[in-house]
């Protein structure tokens, strides 16, 4: 397969209403050339609607979508030339593997020798060499997924859309395919828009993640920024686990329960602020620890749950709010002594002390 250069996608003011419900509410988004961008959100958030608008299967009420410099919003799906992988693969059952993969080439009137060549190349790319004559029903879920991928890229699209393509696979295969898709994307260089509701998948695969909720764009950021600096409580809650403690913004600083917190940056907003506490960022304070740049919390252990590689320590703060801490289960650590009912001190580093805005729902 010839390496294709991706086309940038420029979305502006895209709105789609169903009755009073906004499936997409004035979405603006710039997708860079060759970027792997993931649309992440709960079911019904509008992420699939946005993907379908890119593919041409949903007609937005207004707005503009450009592939490169070309406005495509009025173009029919078959004129858009984007590759797409469907959730259930949508392989044609009356065609075998080769016929499925060659279908877009046959529609484009590519000559027969070139079709055979490119089909073989595509099969090789997805590691299914020799499967050309198989029927679709003779394939396993993972193999179907690869055929769908081969069919979506065989005609060299410069944009690839994927609608939860891995959701039907079991966990091990899914993790393997995530890496493979990622490699393939690096190899072929097409702009990729990927839809998922699985936050871990999004973090693993994406250059940037767009979080969507109720048809609104919540945040668009790299996986790291999204996890560490969520734009609001919804994003923080949707990506990873976390507890939220109500904090006040008074003049010079952020206060939790009367205690002034050390923070890296002060939020601009004054009201509705929450301290986001990720379970894995908390530590148990040990004797003689340097507590400079640390925030200290006095807590009581309410429950300990063993989860294999880690254990969750559920604690209650003095004012009754609960949060949790994730500890490794490695032997020989002082925190292994902790028991239910113990009163302990937890510390949170300044750079892990993130204040977020309540909202996003």
């Amino acid at each position: 397969m010839s390496t294709t250069n991706g086309l940038p996608i420029s979305i502006s003011g895209i709105t789609k209403r169903y009755g009073n419900l906004y499936a997409l509410d004035n979405i603006d988004l710039e997708i860079k050339q060759g970027e792997f961008l993931t649309l992440l959100g709960p079911s019904g958030s509008g992420k699939t609607t946005l993907l379908m608008a890119l593919a041409g299967f949903t007609r937005p009420d207004h707005g503009s979508i450009k592939f490169g410099d070309e406005e495509i919003i009025l173009k029919a799906p078959h004129q858009r030339g984007v590759g797409m992988m469907f959730q259930n693969y949508a392989l044609f059952p009356h065609m075998n593997v080769s016929q499925n993969i060659s279908y877009p080439l046959r529609l484009r009137k590519v000559n027969k020798t070139e079709i055979a060549e490119r089909v073989n190349q595509a099969l090789e790319t997805v590691q299914l060499t020799g499967f050309g004559d198989r029927g679709i029903n003779q394939l396993s879920g993972g193999q179907r997924q690869r055929v769908a991928l081969a069919r979506a890229i065989v005609f060299g699209p410069r944009i690839l859309l994927m609608d939860e393509p891995l959701s039907a696979l079991d966990k091990n295969l899914r993790e393997k395919m995530q890496i493979e898709l990622r490699h393939l994307h690096e190899e072929l260089g097409m702009t990729t828009v990927y839809v998922t509701h699985d936050q871990r998948e999004a973090l693993t695969m994406s250059d940037r993640i767009v979080v969507i909720n109720n048809g609104k764009l919540m945040q668009c950021a790299t996986p790291l920024d999204l996890y560490d600096y969520p734009a609001n409580k919804f994003v923080a809650e949707f990506i990873g686990e976390s507890a939220f403690l109500k904090v006040d913004h008074q003049g010079d600083g952020i206060y939790f329960d009367g205690q002034k917190l050390v923070v890296e940056t002060l939020p601009k907003k004054q009201k509705d602020l929450l301290l986001m506490v990720r379970p894995e960022r908390l530590m148990v304070m040990v004797d003689g620890q340097n507590t400079k740049d640390m925030n200290i919390f006095n807590v009581t252990v309410s429950e300990i749950v063993y989860q294999g590689e880690t254990k969750m320590i559920y604690v209650i703060l003095d004012d009754g709010v609960s949060m949790s801490m994730r500890l490794s289960t490695r032997s020989g650590q002082p925190q292994n002594q902790i028991d239910k009912g113990d009163k302990i001190k937890l510390v949170l580093h300044k750079s892990d002390t993130t204040v977020v805005v309540d909202g996003g729902y």
Binding site: P77, G81, F92, F155
Partner: protein
């Protein structure tokens, strides 16, 4: 708990339970099997036997011989196949687009429309056939309206001929085509059409290259049902054919009612049955028969 002869705890007892369950399940088929034997197998076997009994009461092939000799029988069979084939073709021409339309509607609207397809299905066949007679006859509503509006001057011969028969039969057979066809179209995921258009197919190409081939099993099933039912049809051609359209089933009635010749009637029935099986056999080579008999995938 007891140790059986097999040596494992409760093995014999568990086996007995399984056998008992199977017997009870099998028992559910007894009424149906009984009915089929008394009203189908025995009478058909009896007729089969009768068809080989000559007028002198001994074994003879005279009924079959007569069918081969007489040109009128060949004509009747030809007419039967012609009417059945035409009915099937017209049903496809009307039914396929309709079924496609229904399959593309949202479920609730489709159900209401489906009801309008099924409603005539629940009306008596005789009532529907006589209604056509009222509508189509010389001074019927259609001829009156047509002449009043000046479309034609002389009353059209719409009934008591082949066209009348076909109108009536298509009306009665249409649901038999639409139901399996609609079911098979409904089972084609919308994503297939999306995928094909995404891959570059125009709507026309998507239809002929993806949708149509996938709807073929349903189309074959429906067509076969219509064709085979039409082969043995009696009421509609008898009333709307006006004696000009004689099909096998009518000839069988004539043989019994006019000539009281059970042998000849049975022989006709046997030939029709064999031909029907022949067609089913050929069709089963073309399309998997469980689509016809099982009505789905």
């Amino acid at each position: 708990m007891s140790i059986s002869t097999y040596g494992h705890v409760n093995e014999q007892e568990l086996k007995n339970h399984a056998t008992k369950e199977r017997r009870i399940l099998l028992g559910l088929t007894y009424p149906a099997v009984f009915c089929v034997i008394t009203v189908m197998v025995i009478p058909v076997a009896w007729l089969f036997y009768l068809s080989f009994i000559g007028s002198d009461g001994n074994f003879s092939l005279e009924h079959y011989q007569r069918m081969l000799d007489s040109k009128s029988y060949a004509r009747i069979f030809l007419m039967t196949f012609k009417v059945s084939l035409l009915t099937t073709v017209i049903c496809i021409c009307i039914g396929y687009p309709l079924a496609y339309f229904l399959s593309q509607l949202p479920a609730r609207v489709a159900n209401i429309c489906m009801l309008s397809v099924l409603l005539p299905f629940w009306t008596s066949l005789l009532v529907r056939t006589y209604s056509w007679l009222v509508l189509l006859q010389r001074k019927g509503i259609i001829n009156q309206a047509g002449m009043d509006m000046g479309f034609w001057d002389e009353p059209l011969k719409l009934v008591h001929n082949l066209s009348g028969t076909l109108i009536g039969m298509v009306h009665i057979m249409l649901p038999f085509l639409i139901l399996p066809l609609y079911a098979s179209m409904k089972s084609i995921p919308q994503d297939y059409m999306k995928a094909s258009s995404n891959l570059g197919a125009t709507p026309t190409q998507s239809f002929w290259q993806v949708f149509f081939p996938l709807s073929l099993p349903g189309l074959m099933a429906g067509s076969l049902i219509v064709f085979i039912l039409s082969l043995g049809f009696f009421v509609t051609p008898a009333i709307l054919g006006g004696g000009k359209v004689i099909m096998v089933a009518m000839q069988i009635t004539n043989n019994i009612e006019l000539f009281y010749d059970w042998g000849a009637a049975s022989a006709l029935g046997v030939v029709l049955l064999v031909m029907t099986f022949g067609i089913l056999f050929i069709a089963s080579k073309l399309v998997r028969l469980d689509n016809v008999l099982g009505g789905g995938h």
